[in-house]
Symmetry: C2
Subunit: 379 residues, 2 copies
C-alpha cells in the first residue's frame, strides 16, 4: 500500500504522535523504576491493544481498567491480571464470573460494609473466589473509606471471616488535577501515599496481610518523591498527556501526543472567526482548562506539524463546527487560513477526546501515517 | 428469547422510551403539516436507522446529516436524498463523489466566494454535477453569509455561470437554544424565516431560481407561527428531547425519551453523596443546563420508571463515577438508595449523551426491553 501522509486524511481525525507517546511512557516507567514500585497502567485512556503493548513489558503485566468491557477486550488480547478500579455493583457479578471463567484474574474494589456483605453473600452462594481491594479516600474526591475509619478494619475482618482474603488497599488522588503548582502535586502525592499506607498498616495491625498497596494519578505518580510502603502505581493519561496536564505543568505542550486534525471550512471575517470541521463531537465537550489559569477553550490550535498557533484556540463549538479565534477575542488579530487549510488541535482531556474516535491515525516521522490503531467505546 | 426487563441490564446503558419518541415525532410532524412545509429531519442526534424509519414516512423521504459517515450509513439503508448541512471542505469532495456514484443525491453547503471558486474548479475538472445550497447567517451564531450581503448574490451568480444551479438557501438559528422564553423562540423563528426568505428573494431578483428555502432548529421548528416562503424545515433533537430543551420550555420533562440507566455503587454519607456507575463517559461532558435558570449538573436523577427524584442531580462526574446529591448541597436531605439500586438519569443534551453509546435499549410498556437498536459514531 502506498504511504499515506497527514494531508491525505479526511477530517476530523485523531492523530497519535508515536514518538511523543513512546517518550511519555519511558518517562513514567523510568521514574517508577527509580522509586522501586511496580506499575499497573490504566488503559481507560487508550482503550487500544496497540497502545497497551507499548505500556506493557510482557503480556503477563498487570493493567487497570475502568469498565468490564475493557477487561473483556484486553483479556481477549492475552492480558490476564486486571484490576477493575471502580467499586463493584451486585448486578455486574455475573459478568465478573464470566471473565473469571475465561481465565482472567480480576481484582474487584469496594468501599463499604454494605457492598462487602453483598459480595460475601454472593461468594458463598456461588462458591466463588473473588480478589478484593478496599478503596481508600485520600483526598475527599469521590469514593473510598477514610484511612482512619473504623469501617475499614470492619470490612477487612468481615471479608477474611467470609473466606475472602483482602488483596490490598487502593487510592486515587483525583484532586491532584486541581493542584496549583508542582509543589502542591508533590504534597498531594505524599498525602495519597501516607493515606493508603496508613490504611494498610491498620489492616495489618488487625491481622490482615494486605499485600497490595496501590495508588496513583498521572500527576502524583510523576512527582512523588518517594513511595515507601506503596507496592504499585496506577496512571493512564500520561501516555498521551493533554492541555489540562500541561496547564498543571505536569508536561509541556510538545509532550502532548494526541491531536485532532481539522480543516478550515469558512470564515466570519468581521468577527475574526475561522470555522473548522471539528466541533464538540470531534473534541468532546470537556472544558477541563476552564478552571485553570489559561483557559484553552475547546482546544489549542496548531499547524500541521504540531506547532501551536500562539493564542488561537477553539472559542466555541457546535456539534460539527469549531470556531477558532484569538483567545482574547481580538478580531483584528485573526489568522487568515484559506478554506481547505488543515490544522491540528490539542485537546483539553485526552480521555474524553479519544473516546470520540474509533481509531488512532499513528503519525511517524515526516507527516507519514504509519498505522491505524483501532480503539473501542461503550460498556 | 425470554423477555428482558430494565432491571436485568448491565449498567450504564442508554434507554430509549419508544412511546415518548413516537409522541415527539408525531408532535413535530403534525405541527409542520399545519404550517404547510415539508420536513427533512436531522439524523445527527439518533445515528440509527431504526429511529430514522420512525422519522421517515417512506425511504424516499429526505434527511439532513452532519457528517459524510452519516450519509454513507443512511444511504446503505436506502435513503438517497441527503443534505450535508456543514460547509463543504475541498478534501471531502472525493468522498462526496464516491457517494454520488452510489446513487446518493447529496446536497452540499457553502457560504463564501472562496469555497464557491474551489468547488467550481473541481466541478470543471471532474465534469461532475454538484447540488449546492448557500448557507445564510440568520442570528450571528456560526456560519453563513448574511441575507443582505453582496457576497450572497455574487456566490449565486458565480455558481450559475459555472453551470452549478443554486438549489437553495439554508439557515439554522442555533441561537434559539439561548432564548429566555417561548415568546423569544417565536421571535427567533420569525427572524430565521425572514432572513432565509429575504436571501431567496434577493437571489431570485438576480435571476436565480433558488427553489429550496430551508430553515430549522428544534425550538424554532416547533414554535414558528407561520413559515411563509419556507419550503422545508430541519430539526433533530426533538425526537428525544433533553434537559436543555425542557429548560427552554420546548418540552416537558416527561417528553424526554432518552435516559441513562445507572447503578448505585457506594455512598459518602456525611457529604450526602450517592455514587453511581455513570460518570461523564456515560453522560458526556455536556453541561448545557449550566447557563439556564435551573442547572441540572450532569443530569437529573429519576427512579426506574422515569419519575424525577426531585432535586437530585449528578453534581459531579469522573470518567466512570457519577456523584448524585441534592442540587443545593443539602447533605441532610440525601436519599438513602442501597448499593445495587438502579436509577435513570435524564441527560442535558441528547446528541452528546447518545454519542457515548453503541446502541439504544428500547423500552416498551412495563419496563420491558423490546429491542436493541445499533447506532454508530465517528466520521
Amino acid at each position: 500500500m502506498p504511504k499515506q501522509v497527514l494531508e491525505q486524511l479526511e477530517t476530523p481525525a485523531l492523530i497519535l504522535d508515536e514518538a511523543r507517546m513512546d517518550r511519555n511512557i519511558e518517562r513514567m516507567r523510568s521514574h517508577l523504576r527509580r522509586l522501586g514500585v511496580s506499575f499497573r497502567p490504566h488503559v481507560k485512556t487508550n482503550k487500544c491493544i496497540d497502545v497497551a503493548r507499548r505500556l506493557l513489558e510482557t503480556p503477563q503485566d498487570p493493567i487497570t481498567v475502568s469498565t468490564l468491557l475493557e477487561a473483556e477486550y484486553f483479556a481477549a488480547h492475552g492480558v490476564k491480571d486486571i484490576l477493575y478500579a471502580v467499586c463493584i455493583a451486585p448486578n455486574k457479578l455475573d459478568h465478573v464470573m464470566a471473565l473469571q471463567d475465561k481465565g482472567v484474574r480480576l481484582s474487584l474494589l469496594l468501599d463499604s460494609m454494605e457492598t462487602t456483605r453483598l459480595l460475601a453473600e454472593r461468594a458463598r452462594a456461588t462458591r466463588r473466589h473473588f480478589d478484593v481491594l478496599i478503596e481508600i479516600d485520600s483526598d475527599g474526591h469521590r469514593s473510598g473509606v477514610t484511612p482512619d475509619a473504623s469501617e475499614l478494619v470492619e470490612i477487612g475482618l468481615f471479608l477474611e471471616s467470609a473466606g475472602i482474603p483482602v488483596k490490598g488497599v487502593l487510592t486515587h488522588a483525583g484532586s491532584s488535577y486541581d493542584c496549583a503548582s508542582i509543589e502542591a502535586i508533590r504534597a498531594m502525592a505524599e498525602q495519597e501515599r501516607a493515606a493508603v499506607v496508613l490504611a494498610a498498616q491498620r489492616l495489618r495491625a488487625a491481622g490482615i496481610a494486605c499485600p497490595v498497596v496501590s495508588m496513583g494519578s498521572t500527576p502524583t505518580a510523576l512527582f512523588a518523591e518517594h513511595l515507601e510502603g506503596v507496592t504499585e502505581v496506577r496512571a493512564g493519561v500520561f501516555v498521551f498527556f493533554d492541555l489540562v496536564m500541561a496547564g498543571l505543568s505536569v508536561c509541556r505542550l510538545d509532550d502532548i501526543a494526541v491531536s485532532v486534525l481539522a480543516t478550515v471550512i469558512g470564515h466570519q471575517h468581521e468577527k475574526g472567526w475561522t470555522v473548522l470541521d471539528a466541533g464538540w463531537m470531534a473534541m468532546s465537550r470537556d472544558r477541563g482548562t476552564a478552571k485553570q489559569p489559561v483557559d484553552q477553550g475547546y482546544g489549542l490550535v496548531c499547524d500541521l506539524d504540531g506547532r501551536p498557533l500562539d493564542d488561537f484556540i477553539l472559542v466555541g463549538a457546535n456539534q460539527e463546527h469549531g470556531i477558532m479565534a484569538h483567545r482574547h477575542g481580538k478580531a483584528d488579530r485573526a489568522l487568515h487560513l484559506p478554506v481547505g487549510t488543515q490544522v491540528r488541535i490539542l485537546p483539553n482531556h485526552a480521555c474524553s477526546t479519544a473516546a470520540q474516535y474509533g481509531n488512532y491515525k499513528v503519525l511517524g516521522p515526516g507527516r507519514e501515517i504509519t498505522a491505524t490503531w483501532q480503539r473501542f467505546s461503550g460498556w
